[in-house]
């Protein structure tokens, strides 16, 4: 857990200055922490607990489905129902394919742009940072709406221009790249700014030493800059994976124009449909819990992998 591992360091570094605190201040600490803790409990801990509880029950209709439904304890019944449903599983498959395309493309481009902006050759750095970041100020739903227009033949000036050059692209027939492009547009600039900030924080002496040793800019980027911002890279990968699992808005909007996107195209859409169209709260709760577990497991795996790589790199250096 790189985020968890690196973040408290910042706070701990300040700890030695906090010596000699007179006693009797825990009351103030309690008052200041209370609003957050109450809301955190109400809006995070209780919903998670309640979802786990609901996921263990099902509504049963007696006889032919008429009469009053009764709630019965079914243990892991909802979980096995979700996991046995090809629609739920294929949602995860879609997200896996999406990650395989989106993560390398988005991270690769943001890293490349950050390195270019960090190089001595870039002009107008403030303008480029702002221009690349601006899509993040656009709500995801509006970004998706704009791109759906830009994907529509006849409406889109981009497709028309390509058409007149002899390229005919049927983007709406390929939902995966269509969604990847929408997400990349929103997140490349955001992550580029994070990488750029990390690059700017690299001590200049290290880079000057590399220059004195005759390392080319490319070589410096690959063997010095990228390894030194690994913590930021891992954080971004982790948040990207968590975000990818939540994929909802973009395919939901695309649904209207791309017939191959169905109402369970991602696990989140499946959960939404289960709750609001099938009124099956037990199944929806089980799906939510499974989704959260996969997210937690993946972010744990990413940070674990990153930490062992980092430990090996440090061991190699000493």
């Amino acid at each position: 857990m790189t985020t968890v591992a690196t973040r408290p360091d910042t706070a701990r570094a300040a700890a030695p200055r906090r010596r000699g605190r007179p006693p009797g201040h825990s009351g103030a600490a309690g008052v200041l922490l209370a609003p957050f803790m109450v809301l955190f409990t109400a809006c995070t801990l209780i919903p998670i607990g309640y979802a786990v509880h609901l996921s263990l029950y099902s509504e049963r209709h007696s006889g032919l489905g008429f009469g009053v439904a009764e709630t019965v304890f079914t243990g892991f019944g909802n979980y096995s129902r979700a996991l046995a449903d090809p629609a739920f599983v294929s949602g995860f498959a879609n997200v896996a394919k999406y990650c395989a395309l989106y993560i390398p493309v988005m991270i690769g481009i943001s890293l490349l742009l950050a390195l270019l902006l960090d190089s001595a050759l870039a002009k107008a750095r403030h303008f480029f940072q702002l221009a690349l970041f601006l899509p993040h100020a656009v709500p995801g739903i509006i970004a998706a709406l704009i791109w759906v227009y830009l994907y529509a033949p006849g409406i889109s000036p981009v497709l028309d221009a390509m058409d007149s050059m002899g390229f005919q692209i049927d983007i709406l027939g390929h939902p995966l790249p269509a969604v990847v492009n929408m997400a990349a547009w929103q997140w490349i600039g955001y992550n580029m700014v994070i990488f750029y900030a990390a690059l700017q924080a690299i001590p200049r002496e290290i880079l000057e030493a590399a220059e004195v040793d005759g390392a080319s800019p490319l070589r410096t980027a690959l063997s010095i800059k990228i390894p030194l911002i690994r913590a930021s890279l891992l954080t971004v990968v982790m948040f990207t994976v968590i975000g990818a699992l939540q994929l909802f808005t973009e395919p939901m909007i695309l649904q209207g124009s791309a017939p191959s996107v169905d109402s369970s195209w991602t696990p989140n859409m499946y959960v939404f449909t289960a709750a609001f169209q099938r009124n099956d709260n037990g199944l929806a709760a089980a799906g939510s819990v499974l989704l959260a577990l996969v997210a937690a497991g993946l972010s744990f795996a990413v940070t674990r992998f990153g930490r062992s790589r980092a430990a090996r790199a440090e061991g190699g250096m000493s």
Binding site: A29, I109, L121, P157, V193, A197, A275
Partner: protein, 286 residues
């Protein structure tokens, strides 16, 4: 330094290449926004037939007046709702985060790091995976389809607490707090008049990010609200978009409404560059 040296150097091939790549990237990022700007000047027919913008077919005024009058000015209501959710939500959230971050920075108490670990775990729980469980709880306590259903979850931001702790560590020297205590200020008074004031830049950073995430939020209101007079702009535009295939006159409304909906955030990000950069830096660099 090296930047100055580079500026004095003539335009070499690699310098042209680097800036050309950056320009292409900037064009890709700005193109959809430019399209939105031109599309908002067209009526439904011109929009769907891909007519280029022209002075005699400039219908922005007409689109705006339709936007404000459709369904009895519902769009204005949505806009006001968004301002309420994002304005009130982000202000309170920033206060709550700063208070918690300040307490975690200044005080020592048992189980503090465990508590902080729990907060950081909260950062990793996907927001949309929480939205449905929140809906289930809210329907249990009768809050579904009320302002509270959207507002209350927006007050919680574990990442904001983390940021607040980092900002407090950076902005508040312990000596200043000691001086306030020696002057006889109570702990809460010290927080209010000394701590909070010194960490104001951090307050604005958290406010800005929370405002953005509430303004852009779609899933939570979609799950929680069914009465369209409570909708924020994002959900309202979605509800209109689902009608466009049956009623093409909604196309210009969705486009013009989208344009107006992104103006506050784009303006804020242009003006407050220092604050969002500070937030992303604190999140990225250890």
């Amino acid at each position: 330094m090296s930047t100055l040296a580079a500026e004095r150097r003539p335009w070499t091939m690699s310098k042209v290449a680097v800036n050309a790549v950056l320009l292409v990237a900037a064009a890709y990022m700005l193109m959809p926004l430019g399209w939105l700007l031109t599309a908002a000047t067209k009526n439904a027919g011109d929009l769907l037939s891909g007519q280029p913008v022209s002075a005699e077919r400039f219908r922005l005024g007409e689109n705006l007046s339709n936007l404000f009058s459709t369904d009895g000015g519902l769009y204005v209501r949505w806009y006001a709702n968004s301002l309420l959710y994002a304005g009130v939500g982000a202000t309170l959230c920033a206060f709550i985060c700063i208070a918690a971050g300040y307490a975690l920075h200044v005080y020592r108490f048992r189980g503090k790091e465990k508590l902080f670990g729990l907060v950081l775990l909260g950062v990793m729980v996907p927001m949309t995976a929480l939205a449905l469980p929140m809906y289930l709880v809210a329907s249990e306590v009768g809050l579904v389809n009320t302002y509270w259903a959207v507002l209350l979850p927006c007050l919680v931001n574990p990442f904001g607490v983390y940021l607040a702790r980092v900002f407090c560590a950076g902005y508040i020297p312990t000596e200043v707090l000691e001086a306030a205590r020696i002057d006889g200020a109570t702990e809460l008074r010290t927080f209010w008049s000394v701590g909070l004031r010194m960490v104001t830049p951090g307050f604005f950073t958290i406010f800005l990010f929370q405002f953005t995430s509430i303004w852009n939020n779609f899933f939570l209101p979609l799950v929680m609200l069914s009465d369209n007079s409570l909708f924020p702009v994002s959900l309202g535009l979605y509800s209109w978009d689902t009608q466009t295939s049956a009623f093409p006159e909604f196309y210009p409304l969705v486009v013009t409404g989208s344009l107006l909906a992104i103006i506050p955030l784009v303006t804020a990000f242009v003006i407050l560059q220092r604050h969002w950069k500070a937030g992303l830096t604190a999140g990225a660099v250890k």
